[in-house]
């Protein structure tokens, strides 16, 4: 596809918000940024199971921070101004977008995936926190850079308006956002400070969030819950719950192992700026917990495929999460001690 108004380069990423953040910052002048660095500076890693709350009739579990925060935090760390707008009027929302696109300024939109035409039907639930970049317009067609896709895709104005005004939880309300133009490349010192801040905030979120259902203790909380699911919910519902856990952990966007692998990559990429060799060791620790998350997913799939069905199988699954919780607690404590020493 030939672009008329911009020389934007499409970037495929594991996660949509990381991808949008990285591609936009690179386009506007910050070439030091990568997907893992954006994820780490934005303190993207998280875990929470919200009690008393259901999503699609299953447990409300998340492996990442609130939508929008990664972009905001990474930009703040690099001293990049951010504009974010929501709209009441559909016309104004489209006009403002057109104005920017035709001026050659690629712009990010938050959208719902239920009506996202180029997504396979299997993925189209009412999920409203997807991110993409609108890069150009020709006639009635918008050229879209969706980080999940391998190349650019198109949507007409009706289709784009529909996903921008999807309804339900996290309704995007036409939301668009973008960094400033002509950004200055950050100094290595700025990168370092951004990375340290991102790590500190992530340690806080994972280690010290109040309550027992968030951060590393949240993982053990889910583990203990799982052991009760078979008797409490019955076989069928317990299977659906486990399937939901695995979807949140592995579905498009996490880069595998509930973002733990991206975090491992981040710690390695942080090394040129922080120059502490312990980072490699810690990176391996996160690779190891990511692998354990994936092994747990295989155990869960044995249950929801119906191959495993005893209480012992559920206990095994629960214990895996309790073990991961302990390992991640250790890893984050080490990480916290490490960045605490660095000035």
């Amino acid at each position: 596809m030939e672009l008329q108004h911009t020389n934007f380069k499409h970037l495929q990423a594991a996660h949509c918000e990381n991808g949008v953040t990285t591609a936009l910052l690179r386009h506007y002048g910050i070439t030091k940024i990568t997907e893992p660095l954006a994820f780490g500076m934005g303190s993207g890693l998280f875990y929470i199971q919200l009690p008393f709350m259901k999503v699609n009739g299953g447990p409300a579990i998340s492996f990442r921070t609130m939508p929008g925060l990664i972009f905001k935090r990474t930009c703040t760390a690099l001293g990049v101004p951010v504009t974010r707008k929501k709209f009441r009027s559909h016309e104004k929302a489209m006009q403002e977008l057109d104005g920017r696109i035709l001026a050659g300024k690629p712009t990010a939109c938050q959208v719902g995936v239920f009506y996202l035409t180029y997504f396979p039907k299997e993925y189209r639930f009412h999920f409203n926190a997807h991110n993409l970049i609108v890069v150009d317009k020709k006639g009635d067609d918008y050229y879209i850079s969706d980080p999940i896709m391998e190349g650019l895709v198109t949507m007409n104005s009706y289709e784009l308006e529909r996903v921008r005004f999807a309804k339900g939880a996290f309704a995007p309300r036409g939301q668009l956002y973008y960094p400033g133009d002509h950004l200055k490349e950050p100094t290595d010192e700025q990168m370092k400070q951004g990375i340290i801040k991102g790590i500190k905030r992530n340690c806080r979120d994972m280690l010290h969030i109040p309550g027992s259902f968030g951060g590393v203790s949240g993982i053990a909380y889910t583990g203990r819950q799982i052991k009760k699911w078979k008797t409490k919910l019955g076989d069928e519902k317990a299977r659906s719950y486990l399937a939901q856990l695995v979807r949140m952990q592995e579905e498009i966007g996490t880069g595998g192992g509930g973002f733990r692998f991206i975090y491992g990559a981040f710690l390695q990429q942080a090394h040129p700026y922080i120059k502490a060799d312990e980072l490699f060791d810690l990176s391996q620790k996160f690779t190891a917990t990511g692998d354990k998350w994936r092994d747990a997913a295989i155990q869960a799939s044995g249950i929801y495929k119906g191959r495993l069905n005893t209480q012992a199988d559920y206990d095994n699954m629960g214990d895996r999460l309790i073990e991961i919780s302990a390992l991640e607690k250790q890893a984050f404590q080490q990480l916290k001690a490490l960045v605490g020493k660095i000035k």
Partner: protein
């Protein structure tokens, strides 16, 4: 996960795009690789869709037995719940609850029927008689 361990199963997304995964080499150094899908998560997605299908079928039986209006059936078919339906239509949830009953549905004026039909992407005729395939024009 190592690069050679990246699962390359048939996934729904694999049909249109390979997924980026983060993997390590033998020295633990990270790079990215692509995956066409992983059976473990394809199965998880199948479980979710199986649940959706079961809800649609249950709604269908309720409508056929006169326990609910066709709105319930189409709501389930579009994977919506009361909250989502309320925000798309702009009606209050208790209003929609009335429309979900056959008696409330009978009283719906033409414009509201049209609104529901447009949202569910069917004709008003289909909205009224969702399972009547013989007489559909």
């Amino acid at each position: 996960m190592k690069k050679e361990e990246i699962p390359q199963d048939n996934g729904a997304l694999g049909k249109i795009a390979k997924e980026v995964t983060y993997v390590v080499d033998e020295n633990g150094n990270y790079s990215t690789g692509q995956s066409t899908g992983w059976d473990v998560k394809t199965e998880a997605l199948n479980v979710a869709w199986h649940d959706v299908e079961a809800k649609i079928e249950a709604a269908k039986q309720q409508v056929l037995s006169g326990g609910a209006s066709p709105i319930l059936y189409f709501m389930e078919k579009k994977i919506m719940d009361l909250n989502i339906l309320a925000s798309y239509t702009g009606y209050w949830k208790w209003t929609i609850k009335k429309h979900l009953k056959p008696s409330g549905f009978q009283k719906l004026p033409a414009d509201k029927l049209k609104k529901y039909a447009a949202l569910f992407e069917v004709s008003v005729e289909e909205l009224k008689n969702p399972f009547n395939t013989v007489n559909r024009e």
